[in-house]
């Protein structure tokens, strides 16, 4: 039996390659400017970080509204650090760690407030103006919603935030091996869900 094809990022362990060194230097430069009190660097930092922070918060909380709150909280906490930002050695990892923790806090508060399903959360989206792809994105988002919070988080960090397993371990507070194991389990589970989706008789 042939396994149904999945998305490109699901088929292999391919990670988008970027000029990581240049990006890291830009992050450090922005953090240094903020540590010096130049708040104009907030705009550049938002351009650098907002997408990753928002996506991580969305995949962890399952709610676009909560993700927006997390983004705001993370940037507020960052701005409050002041000169301490100069001591941050890995700015992106530090920011994603703050995002991870804040998202967990928010999920806990939300669960106390109300039990809200996340099946309709838009974990993936298609390019605008493509209704067919939009339907596919919705279907895959519903499958992703059936993963655990931790599995969703490691998938996002690995495939859409260009993080290594060591980075993921530092961000989520687990050993590197655990991060890799979570990724493997998430991929396996998503493949099984895809198989059932394509062939309900199985």
């Amino acid at each position: 039996m042939t396994r149904p094809a999945g998305p490109a990022w699901l088929e292999g362990d391919t990670v988008r390659s970027t000029s990581a060194g240049d990006t890291e230097n830009r992050w450090r430069g922005v953090f240094a400017e903020l540590a010096d009190g130049r708040l104009s660097a907030l705009d550049e930092l938002y351009d650098l970080a907002a997408t990753d922070v928002y996506r991580l918060a969305l995949w962890r909380t399952g709610s676009p509204e909560d993700a927006e709150d997390v983004v705001q909280d993370v940037f507020v906490r960052l701005a409050e650090q002041g000169v301490r930002l100069a001591k941050v050695r890995h700015p992106k990892r530090w920011l994603l760690t703050v995002t991870h923790r804040r998202s967990i806090d928010l999920v806990r508060q939300r669960r106390r407030r109300r039990a809200e399903p996340i099946e309709d959360a838009p974990f993936l989206e298609a390019p605008s103006g493509d209704p067919d792809r939009g339907i596919e994105a919705g279907a895959l988002s519903r499958l992703i919603a059936r993963l655990s919070d931790k599995q969703r988080e490691v998938l996002l960090l690995r495939h859409f935030a260009d993080c290594t397993f060591a980075d993921i371990g530092r961000i989520t507070g687990v050993p590197t091996f655990t991060a890799a194991s979570r990724h493997r389990l998430a991929i396996s589970r998503l493949r099984r869900l895809l198989e059932v989706e394509h062939d309900p008789s199985t």
Partner: protein, 131 residues
């Protein structure tokens, strides 16, 4: 079973942050940074020279009071908690307790048999010739 066409091409990606979020986030961060520049109440107290002098003076007064006024109290506390007569009596009682006679196995009229094996405790017979 034929291989299905790829239903999830790589064009799918997690959504970007909403455009209207940018202004809100940066404004909140700027406000937080401005607030962070102002020292909080405890920092202002710590950095205040008169308050630090008052704190040092109060500590000095406490030390002076302890040395001058608390002197007799310190001497009183150096006296033994138990009077000497009572201490001697206590030592005598302790000596009697320690000196009590203990039951010993060599008292006259006592015999102690330790039989580890009942068979071995039987008297030996010499009727049989040794082989």
């Amino acid at each position: 079973m034929t291989r299905r066409p790829d239903p999830f091409p790589g064009v799918l990606a997690p959504p970007q942050a909403p455009p209207e979020l940018r202004q809100r986030v940066i404004a909140a961060a700027r406000a937080a940074a401005d607030g962070a520049d102002e020292p909080d109440r405890w920092a202002r107290i710590w950095e205040s020279r008169p308050v630090r002098l008052a704190w040092a003076a109060s500590i000095g007064a406490l030390i002076f009071g302890h040395l001058v006024i608390g002197g007799p109290v310190g001497r009183r506390s150096a006296q033994p908690a138990i009077p000497l007569a009572a201490a001697v009596e206590t030592e005598h009682e302790l000596a009697e307790i320690v000196g009590l006679e203990r039951m010993t196995v060599d008292l006259p009229g006592w015999e102690v048999h330790i039989a580890r094996d009942p068979v071995q405790s039987e008297p030996l017979t010499t009727d049989e010739e040794p082989s």
